[in-house]
Symmetry: C2
Subunit: 422 residues, 2 copies
């Protein structure tokens, strides 16, 4: 009761550090609950900025992310700007293409690129740099001067290299890991052909080549963003335009006419390959003062298409607990860490697992056979056997429960295999 | 050739950050090779400081550590100040004691407490705080002023919370993890009885109690340092002197008269339980400029008695590579990371494994049976079957090879077990 009284007399202030995807959405969630919200972002307002090509992996929006957007009333707006992908399209070395469906019909992911179109409930103050102390935000203005803002709650949504998280690292008993994978990524653009998409648009195109691979996602402007994933040492072996073409002729011959010889020779050297990091930590909170969400809490490698979705789901989970504990931060924050850490660790592990699977197994007959068996079992026993990918992408089954269930289903499948062979 | 010429004209400067065990020993190694060495240490000179009780786990010096000390000619000096421990002495709940030998006769670890008696070859400059940039050490004087010292190599030996390592964390593609275990530790002193050790001195005493345990190591002054390892939440449950006594009566009744009721009641509350962290990272170097060793590179939990030994062995391994590559830092540093990372990760994992084994299995008949089988097999096939503990503690077998060999031996043992049961 005291809580609500104080809220009617003076609104509590939530400082959201980071105005990216998760920070912006979180601002909407807190504003909807009636908090004063301030968003602190070091970069220029992305709505005014030019698109920076080559530095943003395309994003796949699926069920969890959509549920979060729906909650603050902007699902339809975002969905209308995405392109549905109904299946993966595998490109073999010999130029053949064959689709692998994600799940049942109607279960689609959306390719979204620039979705920073949230109606900000909050005033977004652009600042040069922001860091946090326990009970206030310390903001550096562009002129170098410092402002301290007393916030009731600090929400760190400042990404994989979070400045907020650095404060956690100074405290004892904070568990933390950052793991870089040996692969880097590079983005290349495939322009439209005669004003139309150069390939079938409603697919996530994949060129699996064992130790490396390329994927392509469609954009609204009818381009594709191609992303090449390859060990850094292989990127570094290619030093001239001719070597780029030779490499593409050997491994991705069908893409050369579509991307264009000149563009390939030029764009390959525009930026060095970018690193990918997997970050895990726990707990996500300090006292009743500060909480981490999104990549700041759990950067994942991009191979399950769940980074943004997991970050958006963080917002719902937190909001559900705010409801449950009557907005009492001292109860919500520990519960959020307790419940959310195992789920975020599970999706980080799954993304790492898929890093191997996408490169190697998508090609193999065994993998395809297993997918078919899974889909068949799901058709026969829709409530008992649900493919892992379906649980992760098209439901809100808790990530760690999806993994547990998957392990159990693998045992069932092994049993059926033995039974069938008798 | 150029190298040696430049060394004769002007000696290269090595800045060792941290004047603890590994930093001091490393200074000796570099000085022996003819480098100018400066050691930077934030704390007071430990040789002049009073012993800080309750903050230092006793150390077990074994083969790897001794080899390193031997290399710089101070093995005998240190060994003369240690107390040999020929076996573990297990204390049951019912007050019975039984020894479990470490290995063959003559294979002993030494209990050492304050071995900061290295003859410093280097000048040890005490400074308030030191951090490092890539090619120089930046030192903060007690008055707050800053000195920059241009060093040819910076060696970060500044412990589990290394300031040097923070510079590594700022760079891309540095893998890092810190994991706190749910247990804390607390040190208690067991004084001599009538001028003699209160228990048999030449043993590592262990009171295994499943979720928690106590150990005691002998000191030269005929005291024992008892270390209680217990989950933080259990430490926090005990809030009064009477509760301490009740707890000891239930779990460590034989130690109450030896530590003393009053001392127990007082010392339990002198300091809060201390946290234990396991740190892994890679690589250990930046270019040809900086390298991490000891706890700065690989803090381990203290349950294999290898923390100091692994750190000392780092110094030998580095020195061996200095010999191999003619002191060319650009060759030595990457090779050091390549070779040493898997070994240090292996000992970190083993220490974590022993964290579970020491508490739970030391008690069990199965564990004792397995030890006997191992020792019997080692007796029958001394070159084929070597117990893991022996390889780790009494040889310089590379840690990761010891682990591989152990896995293989476990398979052999399983096979023998099946064979024996036929």
């Amino acid at each position: 009761m005291e809580e609500s009284t104080s809220r009617t007399t003076k609104k509590k202030l939530v400082a959201v550090v980071g105005g990216g995807l998760v920070g912006s959405l979180n601002a909407c969630f807190f504003a909807k609950r009636g908090f004063d919200v301030e968003v602190f972002e070091i970069r220029e307002d992305i709505r005014k900025a030019k698109v920076v090509r080559g530095r943003s992996i395309n994003l796949a929006l699926s069920h969890r992310g959509r549920q979060a957007l729906k909650h603050v009333g902007i699902e339809e707006k975002i969905v209308s700007q995405g392109i549905p992908m109904q299946a993966r399209m595998i490109h073999s070395l010999n130029g053949k293409q064959y689709p692998i469906p994600y799940g049942r019909k109607g279960q689609v992911s959306l390719s979204v690129n620039n979705i920073a179109t949230f109606s900000y409930y909050a005033i977004c103050r652009l600042t040069e740099y922001s860091t946090m102390r326990l009970s206030y935000c310390c903001v550096f203005r562009p002129d170098g001067s410092k402002v301290q803002i007393k916030a009731d709650l600090i929400v760190g949504c400042d990404g994989a290299f979070s400045a907020t998280r650095k404060q956690f690292l100074r405290r004892s008993r904070f568990n933390y890991s950052q793991t870089y994978i040996p692969h880097g990524y590079m983005e290349l653009t495939m322009p439209p052909v005669n004003g139309e998409f150069a390939m079938k648009p409603n697919y996530l195109h994949i060129w699996p080549r064992n130790t490396f691979m390329m994927i392509a996602l469609p954009n609204l402007d009818r381009t594709f963003t191609c992303t090449l994933f390859m060990p850094f040492e292989d990127f570094e072996k290619i030093t001239t335009g001719d070597e780029v073409i030779k490499f593409f002729q050997k491994y991705f011959p069908d893409t050369i006419p579509l991307i264009g010889v000149d563009a390939l020779k030029r764009d390959y050297f525009r930026l060095p390959a970018q690193a990918m990091v997997s970050v895990k930590c726990s707990p996500y909170h300090i006292d009743d003062k500060c909480v981490l969400m999104g990549d700041a809490a759990h950067a994942v490698v991009p191979f399950y298409g769940q980074g943004m979705n997991a970050g958006f789901e963080d917002c719902i989970v937190f909001d559900e607990m705010m409801e449950q504990f009557n907005e009492d931060f001292s109860a919500v924050l520990p519960e959020y860490s307790r419940v959310r850490v195992p789920d975020d660790h599970a999706i980080a592990d799954l993304a790492m697992y898929n890093y191997i699977e996408m490169r190697a197994h998508v090609n193999s007959k065994w993998f395809l056979f297993r997918k078919h068996v899974d889909n068949l079992l799901h058709f026969l026993m829709p409530k008992t056997i649900i493919p892992l990918y379906t649980m992760v992408t098209f439901t809100r089954t808790r990530y760690h429960e999806a993994v547990q269930r998957w392990h159990w289903q693998n045992k069932v499948r092994s049993f059926l295999k033995i039974y069938a062979s008798l």
